[in-house]
Structure formats: C-alpha cells, structure tokens
Symmetry: C2
Subunit: 249 residues, 2 copies
C-alpha cells in the first residue's frame, strides 16, 4: 500500500512564506475573501485579522499537518487543493474531503487535528495562530457566527456523505462525487464544461469507500458511453442529466 502513504513529513516544515507577489498581500485584494470566513469582517475590522495572518505556501504533494498534531494554526485556503483524511492503523484510509480556495481548515478549533491534510497541488494559505484567531472570534461576533455557519454547513455535507457511504451503490457514489465537485468548482471558476480533478483515482476511491479499480471502471464505462470525456488533468461532463439520473436512482 505504498501507493497512498501520506506525503512524508518535512524535515521541519513544508511551508514557506508566500513571496514574489503571487498571493494577495492584503485582504482587500483577496480573491476568495467573500467565500471565506473573512467575509464576516467589515473592511475596518479586517485589519485586525490581517495582523495575525501569515501568507504561506506549500508545494504539491506535501503534508500540511498530520492527524493528532497539535493544532497551533488554523488556515484559509487561497489557492490549490488539499486532501483531508483519516487513517486506520492497518493502512486503510478515508478521505473525508478536499479543501479548495475559500475553505477553512481547523473549524473544530480543537487542541489537536482530527485528520491529516496534504496538498494535491501547490497551495497558498492564510495561516492564523489558533489561539489568536479564537480570541478574535470571541471579540468580533460576526466572525464566530460565520465560523459556526461554516461548521454547520460542513456538518450537513458530512451527513450527506454518510448517505453516500452507507447506502449508495458504486456508480451512484462516483456520479454524486463528480456532480458535487463540479458544483464546488463552479462557485470558484464559474460554470465550465471541463472539470479539473486534481486528486487521483485512489483518492476518489478512498473518499467514496471504493477501490481504485471500481472507480476506474466506472469512469471508463462512462467514457465509452460518452457521458464524460477524458481531458488532461480532468474530465469534461457531456451528459450531466445522465449523472443526475444515476444519483436520483
């Protein structure tokens, strides 16, 4: 099972300060501000958040943190995709989700992370000291409210995913995944025919409680049947109705 060992821990840290003008250095210029928790703060309040913000980047296929690590920081993703997963002792793993720009990592505000986070692509993040962030959330009421909105939204998605994992057949799972991923990407990039899939087949399988073979076969069949089209680093959805029918049962 070498295939999906977590990206190896960096000697000290995979993170480097985000330089070279590739990150918005101020929130006012941030492309994901309105999607992120940060939208809770008015322009005059956002400076307080900026004071505790570090812009950091992570190369592709690197660990941001491991399950059980002390949660010194929490993060907002500003670019790239991460994979969030929990592992069993014997190597089985469950990908609990993928984090994309605008997502907040560390909602639980817990002492320790309950899952691991690894970058799938190069990633830029706003890093906040957890304690300082928690303090700010308790001072600035809107921020706490928005954190709670994010958490309860996530909770709803998690419950929906329980249905997928507990009661859906393989084909339905893959269809549901593609449609939801497309929806999330659409929020960021606008509706687009081609759908980038930064995660590998194994990641999709581990997200859906399937094997890589089943995911591969399902996608291959849909390609044969012209439901989707293979494009580099993703797919193009040709027959969305067909996928929706599959999910509806």
């Amino acid at each position: 099972m070498e295939a999906h060992l977590p990206a190896q821990a960096a000697p000290i840290s995979n993170l480097s300060p985000c330089g070279g003008g590739q990150c918005a250095s101020v929130c006012a210029e941030c492309r994901v501000r309105l999607y992120a928790v940060c939208a809770a703060l008015a322009s005059d309040e956002i400076h307080e958040l900026e004071r505790i913000t570090q812009h950091v980047s992570l190369p592709a296929k690197a660990a941001l943190f491991h399950a059980g690590d002390e949660a010194q920081s929490v993060y907002t993703v500003t670019s790239g995709t991460l994979r969030l997963q929990r592992d069993l002792a014997d190597g089985r793993r469950q990908v609990i989700g993928f984090a994309i720009p605008g997502d907040f990592i560390g909602l639980a505000m817990d002492e320790h992370f309950g899952f691991s986070a690894d970058s799938l692509t190069p990633v830029n993040l706003c890093r906040f000291d957890r304690q300082a962030f928690a303090r700010l959330a308790h001072e600035r009421h809107g921020l706490l409210g928005r954190l709670h909105d994010f958490a309860s939204h996530e909770l709803g998605l998690a419950q929906e995913h329980m249905v997928v994992l507990g009661r859906r057949r393989a084909e339905e799972r893959v269809a549901a995944f593609l449609l939801r991923w497309r929806e999330r990407m659409a929020r960021l990039t606008g509706a687009s025919a081609t759908l980038a899939l930064p995660m590998g087949r194994q990641d999709i399988a581990d997200h859906l409680g399937l094997t890589i073979e089943t995911v591969s076969r399902t996608l291959a069949r849909w390609m044969r049947e012209k439901v989707i089209l293979d494009v580099p680093d993703g797919i193009r959805i040709l027959d969305q109705d067909r996928l929706e029918e599959t999910v509806a049962g």
Copy 2:
C-alpha cells in the same frame, strides 16, 4: 420495507406540553443542563433562555419533524432517545445518529431540517423558537460559542463515522457502534454493565450501512462467544477488550 417507514406524521402535532411535573420546569433543576448547550449561560442569564423555552413531550415512535420541514424550532433533548435519518427516494435510509439527553437538535440553524427526527422512546424536549434562539445566541456570546463547540464536536463524530462507513468491515462497525453508544450512555448514567439499546436491529443496520441480518448474526455470534449477554431491551458487555480489539483491527 414497511418495517422502517418513518413514524406517521401526526394529524397536527405529536407534541404535547410537558405536564405532571415530569420535566424540570426550571433550568436550575434540569438534569442535563451541564451537558447541554444551556451550560453556556450563567444562572443570571439563563432566565432569558427560559423565557423562550417550551417544555414538550413526544410519545414513543412518533415523528418530531421530517427532512425538508421548515425549522421553526430547535430543541434540546432532556429525556429519551430519538433517531435522526436521511432517506433516499427509493426507501433506502441512512440513520445519521441518535439523539440522547443533552443533545441539541437543529445545530445548523438552517431554514429547513436536513434530516428527519423520530422518537424511539417517549421523549421530553426543551423547544426553542429558532429565530429567538438565534437572536439570543448572537447577544449572549457564550451561547454561540457553545453552539459552535457542539457543531464542531458533531463534525468530528461525523468524520469518524465516515471512516466506519467507508472503510470498516461489518464486525468492526458493530463493535465500534456498541462501544461508542456505551460511552455516550456512560456520560449520562455513569458506567454501567448493562447497555440499553432503545433502537432496533434495523436502526442499527441503517446507521452502520449494513443489513439487519448482518447485524443480527454479528450480535448472535458474540452472544454465543460470551462477548455480550442478551438482556431485555439491551445487552450487557462481558468482554469489552474483545470489542476494542475488533475495532482496532
């Protein structure tokens, strides 16, 4: 599949005001106050919560609300057990959890409920108008913080359950369920050898993504092997280590 149709909707409502002194009429006497969201409020603040509280009860096997219903109220469970579930169009269902005393129902504070709630036993609840509760949460900072703590705790449990549903074998699922249920009950009643199981086999199966036969066979085997003992309305765990080993893999 008549077996687990949702309890039929009441003509108007299954709820009745809680009378006859069976509920604590004031928070100060509430047995679950310290476990519930209410613990966020100091004794001088709790009166504001009491002002918007209605004590209601529900008989066994009755619907509290259905998925998609407008969420006019949110609830704290003070006694009894409820089953929370999501249904697919063709009758498959996923039990997303069981609510016990101290639990808060309606964390999402969403316009509409994302799941159905049915009582398994007679239930007593504190009912809050959702809007009034939300308003209070935004005034009394601690309450919102505690709501968020509850939501993120639930999120962690939901993620753990994803691992169960996505990656665990049948036997591991049942063992994990028994141990977690015992843990939750222990918080309420103190450590006890006998474990009440107010939910039926079908409910457990639908919670774990299994069939009733698989659950039944697994429990039957453990009874034969003296891992558990059958008692009326529940079981007694004789060999907890064995269950823990099963979960550990």
